[in-house]
Symmetry: C2
Subunit: 589 residues, 2 copies
């Protein structure tokens, strides 16, 4: 397996040079966070990713988790590594400071996430599910629950899980059957079966705090009758010590394509004691706090694995000697040239590089909106919150789709060795594949974008985004920027007219939104990446003597000329309309 | 795992209705092969695929092959199944009749291959490697070798393998180090190490006949000094009985992403006795006979697994109840609608269907050229041979790229269940992935196409293909065909002008060919699929009352409007030229 190398320099470039994060943080009143602290965090995150997480990645894949009579055992080294992560404070980064959390901006937390996923997604998941559960609790749980549970979750002494899916209810959570019966003491008795619970059971922590969707006996049908409950694996006594086992147990673990070291559990709740989080029948809304957090985080999984795969492919392309350059020998003393001399190998590497670096900038852009929505004020805060809504499904789906594409390319660079487990490149493909599926499949993300985030408000937030990109293109007057702002402007025009066309079609056609959704999301993704590359190119143009910046400029050019044309294909596909999908009778498929 | 259902009706449609195969066979003098025989073969192939091969597919994946001190054991049931396949005569289909082969046209053999790969690629590989080795021998080996080995290979009593790759020499076979020392008895002593040898060792047959590339002591450097040798695992006595073990043994097997039941071996040759096949130093040419056969066959692996995945996804989409149609409940009595009501699920299914059915027609089109090149005469034969050269890399790469795309889509239709091994959809993804890599990576196929098959002859064979497609479009005057011939004509224009642009750029730019190659191959693939869909649409228009034909028409429309626009994106990418790939210094990546 390629050794994980954290792309710290590239992260600093995005954070400090492209986004000028320090000034954003100052403006948001996050005075304790500055460039120095950010760099220290990046360095420390790089160290644990490279030395603690990465060495366990392939062994964890080979060994996997094992299940025996409700007990789940993680691979060798995982409990110790998780403990070290927890003690390093990595579970508290974005937590509520009242309960032991740190106030680290999301823009920076995302980079830790990229590194932890890129070096060992399976292990990283246990931590990020815990952070996500803590986030939902911080926003919706009672003071009593927060005091009792949050400090140990932030400290990584206890882990968290989110329990939504049932065998017959995945996308359609309105169909869940898990029941919550009110008890005399104000708690609830939870009974039902959940599947696909990441980190639902394991041996990493002494307790696991499950957030569970269930229905009260008198709840309305469908998604408006769902409530959220906190169900600890072990009861917690008033003095904070652990009590007896609660009525929740692991019935089995799934055998999966990848993320073998992550326990994907069947959880059986049998008269388990649970505590209401948020309001009755408003559980889905409370859970969405967690899901939005997780969705961006899942996008970053696509980014992290793509970056790791690029890193491996690049090293291999520099070392593997095979055939000669079409321009004549470049390594005349060797038996053959390194394969990086071949145009098509460069095309593969540049495709990875262009998607990875734009993806990193994009995730930080979303992080900026999240931070502004959380710490900002007034109109700026409202605007950022609107952008978060709009951008979350794009980040989840586009980053993970590109994650698969990039890890497949990285594997391809290795030829036959890419297919052999020992080399590690195929694991990236298997591991990243889940990110397109869980937390709402990418098709569901596209529906969320096109339906709830665009059509439902007449494209208001999309108009804000397009305006920002146009304003940028108009204001970027550094010499040489035309090459990058011209395609960006054209992309904005395409995306705008595509948005209008779909909105118009949706007036009379109930299928217009669903028929357009996936390609529309892609069109938005390609446009946003053009925006990111234009911004990176501008910084590079101001520093073009240096090889690092010159590489940014070349990659921006590659993106605009060789990848952005996909936007037109997506737009053409959307404009084909819904009839071509709906006219075929179901039985004729 | 979805039960494999052989798409016999669709195969008959392509063979009899679209290509009118019976008339082609009659014209080629293959009088014994008619529609009745073809249908009987399809039915029998469907039966063994569904009842013999498919039931072993998932168990074979879970169990895998095992290696212990040179002995390779295949999964439970594999030796018996292979024996039954062999005894059914499936190894002799396209063999030389002088040695026990049958004269079944490639157009038909391909359909058996699609079924065997679609139901169990790992098991199918043992047979097709044997057929490929037999083909190379039938074309290049001495009469003595043919008489001694071919009958038992056709009968599946002995298997075959092709031994090319060495650890340091994959794409660049000129670098191989395996040595062949001439012996007094006219044989050669072969010494060296080969890797990635599919079926290099196993327990399916009593003997294995290896075709091995090696170099004579005085051979010229590079690819012009390679000779081909036949090296049996067990010596064969003059009476046909097996003698002692030869000096070849299996050093280990690879642990791979997929095709777990296929033994991918390290083979060590240590003073093994080998026999020259073909002429000294012309081994690569002889091996190409086998490789071209294998390359089309590998393309069909992409097709077969895509078709199997479509079949599974379609069943699931009809059964899985989740959410309601945007047009209101379609299954009002049930708790939710089947997911096939959703536009985006239909988009996924139609994408699979459009690629699979065009791919099947395309493979038969290539089969037609192979049959004409083999059995035809005069100009027609020469023209077909030229088209085979041109189409082989497209078939290998485009069919397998679409194979990955389609199996990923099929997995996606299953949501979380798609990621779980038990459901079988992820195995298709893992299994098909190798087909983009082996027998020359798809990048190498694209270079072969753009360099050797297009640029090297000024685009002559490509012009023949484009002319055929244009002639067809001009002659297809059935009412309603404009909808399909108009985009086909436009695609032909695009492909032609793209070809001319690349040829022009290649005059001064050594990197032009490599920079254009992959997208160019894709552009050709999309155009050819438009041709296939136009031909299928024409048959459908003449039978449009029936649901079967109406589905063809709908799918053709879907292809032209929603998938063919990719062609423009590919063309734009090619026209970006090579500078954008080559200008970045290697150290700046």
């Amino acid at each position: 397996m390629p050794e994980y190398k954290a792309p710290v320099r590239d992260m600093q470039f995005v954070l400090h040079e492209v986004f000028n994060a320090e000034s954003i943080w100052a403006k948001l009143g996050l005075d304790e966070v500055n460039r120095e602290l950010a760099d220290a965090i990046l360095d420390e995150a790089a160290k644990i990713s490279e030395t603690l997480l990465s060495p366990l990645n392939r062994s964890g894949d080979e060994e996997g988790v094992s299940w025996n009579d409700t007990v789940v055992t993680t691979p060798k080294g995982y409990p110790e590594a998780f403990k070290e992560l927890a003690e390093g404070g990595w579970g508290a980064l974005a937590g509520d400071p009242e309960y032991g959390g740190q106030v680290i901006p999301k823009m920076l937390v995302l980079m830790f996430e990229e590194m932890s996923y890129g070096s060992n997604i399976a292990l990283g998941l246990y931590l990020s599910l815990t952070s996500g559960a803590a986030l939902a609790m911080a926003n919706h749980a009672s003071e009593e629950l927060k005091q009792k549970y949050l400090p140990n979750m932030y400290a990584g002494k206890w882990a968290g899980s989110m329990c939504l899916t049932e065998a017959h209810a995945g996308t359609d959570l309105g169909m869940i059957r898990t029941k919550a019966e009110p008890q005399a003491d104000g708690s609830y008795s939870i009974t039902g079966n959940k599947i696909f619970i990441t980190g639902g059971e394991h041996d990493l922590t002494e307790n696991i705090i499950h957030l569970v969707l269930a229905k009260l006996p008198d709840a309305p049908a469908g998604s408006k009758g769902i409530s959220l409950f906190l169900v600890p694996k072990f009861h917690v006594n008033d003095d904070g010590s652990l009590g007896e086992r609660n009525g929740v147990s692991c019935g089995s673990v799934e055998h999966k394509m990848g993320i073998h070291a992550s326990a994907t559990c069947v959880l059986n709740f049998d008269d388990a004691k649970g505590y209401l989080v948020g309001e009755v029948n408003k559980g889905l809304m409370a859970m969405f706090t967690m899901m939005n957090y997780e969705r961006l985080s899942v996008g970053v999984q696509g980014l992290g694995l793509a970056a790791a795969s690029y890193n491996g492919a690049l090293d291999y392309a520099r070392e593997r000697l095979q055939s000669r350059s079409p321009a004549g020998p470049q390594n005349a003393d060797g038996p053959a040239d390194p394969i990086i001399v071949h145009p098509d190998v460069r095309r593969m590497l540049l495709t990875q590089k262009a998607y990875v670096e734009a993806g990193r900038a994009f995730s930080v852009f979303v992080g900026q909106q999240l931070d502004t929505a959380k710490f900002g004020e007034g109109e700026e805060q409202v605007r950022a919150a609107g952008l978060v809504e709009l951008l979350t499904p794009i980040a989840k789906a586009f980053l993970t789709d590109k994650g698969l594409e990039c890890t497949v390319i990285g594997q391809q660079c290795f030829g036959g060795h890419g297919y052999v487990r020992e080399w590690g490149m195929e694991q990236y493909v298997r591991d990243v594949r889940i990110a397109q599926i869980y937390e709402g499949t990418n098709g569901i993300q596209a529906l969320d974008l096109m339906g709830r985030k665009v059509a439902a408000n007449g494209g208001k937030n999309m108009a804000v985004l397009i305006q920002e990109m146009r304003d940028y293109a108009a204001s970027a007057t550094t010499a040489g920027m035309d090459e990058f702002t011209a395609p960006l402007k054209k992309a904005c025009d395409s995306l705008e007219s595509l948005t209008q066309d779909v909105l118009a079609a949706a007036k009379d056609d109930p299928h217009a939104v669903g028929a357009a959704s996936v390609e529309y999301l892609n069109a938005a993704g390609y446009t946003i990446y053009a925006y990111m590359w234009a911004r990176m190119a501008e910084v590079a143009l101001q520093n073009s003597d240096d090889a690092f910046y010159s590489a940014k400029l070349h990659t921006a050019r590659f993106y605009m000329t060789r990848l952005l044309p996909q936007l037109d294909a997506m737009a053409a596909s959307v404009r084909a309309g819904s009839d071509v999908l709906m006219a075929l009778p179901e039985e004729a498929f």
